[in-house]
Symmetry: C2
Subunit: 361 residues, 2 copies
């Protein structure tokens, strides 16, 4: 198995630890001591060797990715000239990989997810690889922990029965349908009815199968990818990529490929997955201490203070009579907010930008 | 007029900016850029020249006082071998001053008060000096802003009428009585009835009058002071001070002298006085910003956050949906607490001490 790690995001809602110069995926957000992209590579250990991992990221971040992932060669880090959503990014990884192993199985992984239970994750990914080998485009379906309205959902269909798929092992399902982000009532219905999973953006497929789907569903994009593929290794590679990239449609793999793909399967994932979309998510990722506080980093001394999330560089943070705060320190910035209002971190970044404080964002 | 600045306290409730190594009075607590003792000296400018100012502090802090007050000579900084409350400290200043000017008028000022309105303060102090010249032991009575239960009170008596007291100028009253810290109902009664003032620990007297009161009311202490006075300038000065200091009674000037003094007067002070006993007091000292936050130091960006008190070294502090917090950063420590629970900062310091974290307190 190969892996393509998508590391193109920005992560504004995780300011101040996520900054323009080192977005979320290049930052340690959970206090693990590893950045999210490092943890993503670590998580593949034993399943995908480092020399089979590609990273697709913005040109501004190639050097950072190389620095944080010293086990990867420079050629394994693919720079997007601009953000074009996930389909072109995955297509770029496919044409690179197709040159060396056209039937390779490729796992696509976002760089900014937390998945604490590594063994369960690897088992699900390996099983998805078996289904991919049998010709399915496979998505990992995340067992929903609650009626989240911020994710797309996957409706499970019948068990997948391709002859090439080993029937021992964890279940593989056909996908009945992909569903857009639901409203609250709909999401609650999904959980009540069962058989619905969060779409976490983790995909596994054979490269030839994916390229065939791109040719069928996104022919213009495929033509650009072909042109890029032919130029790889040539002197004009960079110019060809730049020229074609600028003309590519910005489209997600979900909308562009998955929803219309001919043979789509799903393997369930129950491994504590979390996309850490905002700081309050840390309470689903971190251990709770004896006072119900969640300390990502720092030494907290709390007096009658409960449910706080703390990430600081200080030798001590004293909390007195405060509840449900998020306290995040990074260098020259300190964020203190109520944990139910963490979506508004984006507004903080917008205001700093409006004030011309590019140095702080 | 001379001044004796009492700088012996600890200021535990203003952790983390007040530390063992630089207590409250040697720290900038309000974000003015000056430490409290520096501000105390600044406040005397034009009324008491620097060469007439004594500082009485613990031996551990003499060097710090000298460093923060470069206009003072080393001899003007008097080190107490140990804390013996205010009567011995004031007595020590008196015996020093008596050697050079036995009828000098001395103002005693705590080093850790905030008095924003300097002109009003100097007028009250100058008027107290006139009453002191006429033979009164004078206390400044602070016009009470509310029914505080943490201060002693002074009950005003009739107007002072000593022949030597110029009758032009602001009023000088006899003191009917000194009152211990009252309970809430009593304090509310004081405010309703009028004629009651906070005892802020600012005194003005002639040195000969004070020494006579000490001889009369605290004869044992006076004898020790006499012995010290005789040894000043001798080779064995330090040993004599150490020997007698150890035997002195630990007693406050209020209880030991003021309550029983023969001719006590009071001049009212209305100058924004505040003793900054804990962090929440800053809202009575600092300007309120457009969002009702009080920023001692730091650049705050607040979204729906009101009534917070902020003192940080950061280039930006973002507040989101939080109210009535105290946020104080100093070096390796960060304090975040509800402003109505700031008395409990003392418990934080106690817990750190119990954990052996002397480096943090």
């Amino acid at each position: 198995m190969y892996a393509a790690i998508l590391a193109g995001g920005v992560g504004t809602r995780l300011w101040p630890r996520s900054r323009q110069a080192h977005p979320k995926q290049f930052s340690d957000i959970t206090g693990s001591g590893r950045t999210m992209i490092q943890a993503t590579v670590d998580r593949l250990e034993g399943l995908v060797p480092p020399d089979r991992i590609w990273v697709i990221t913005g040109e501004a971040y190639s050097a950072l990715a190389a620095q944080q992932l010293p086990a990867l060669r420079a050629a394994q880090i693919l720079a997007e000239p601009s953000g074009r959503n996930t389909a072109p990014a995955i297509g770029l990884a496919c044409v690179h990989l197709a040159k060396q192993d056209p039937n390779a199985i490729l796992a696509v992984l976002p760089a900014d997810h937390v998945i604490p239970q590594r063994a369960a994750f690897q088992m699900a990914l390996a099983r998805a690889g078996e289904a991919a080998a049998a010709g399915y485009v496979v998505t990992l379906g995340i067992e929903p922990a609650f009626a989240h309205t911020g994710y797309g959902y996957i409706k499970r269909g019948a068990a997948a029965t391709a002859a090439a798929l080993p029937q021992s092992g964890s279940p593989v399902f056909c996908v009945e349908r992909f569903l857009e982000k639901p409203d609250r009532l709909t999401a609650e219905g999904f959980l009540r009815d069962g058989g619905y999973y969060w779409n976490g953006g983790i995909f596994v497929f054979r490269v030839d199968v994916m390229l065939a789907e791109m040719k069928r569903q996104l022919p213009a994009l495929f033509a650009h990818l072909q042109a890029i593929g032919s130029a790889l290794g040539n002197a004009d590679e960079a110019q060809v990529i730049a020229r074609h990239w600028a003309q590519m449609q910005s489209v997600s793999i979900d909308v562009g490929i998955m929803e219309g793909a001919q043979r789509v399967a799903m393997t369930p994932l129950q491994a504590g997955w979390n996309d850490v979309g905002s700081w309050d998510a840390l309470e689903n990722v971190l251990q709770r201490d004896k006072d119900d506080n969640f300390i990502a980093q720092g030494n907290a001394l709390s007096l009658e203070s409960y449910g706080n999330i703390v990430f600081t560089d200080k030798r001590v943070v004293a909390l007195i009579g405060v509840d449900d705060l998020v306290i995040v320190e990074e260098g020259d910035a300190l964020l203190i907010g109520h944990k139910h209002q963490m979506q508004r971190v984006r507004d903080v970044v917008d205001q700093l930008r409006a004030q011309g404080r590019e140095d702080l964002i």
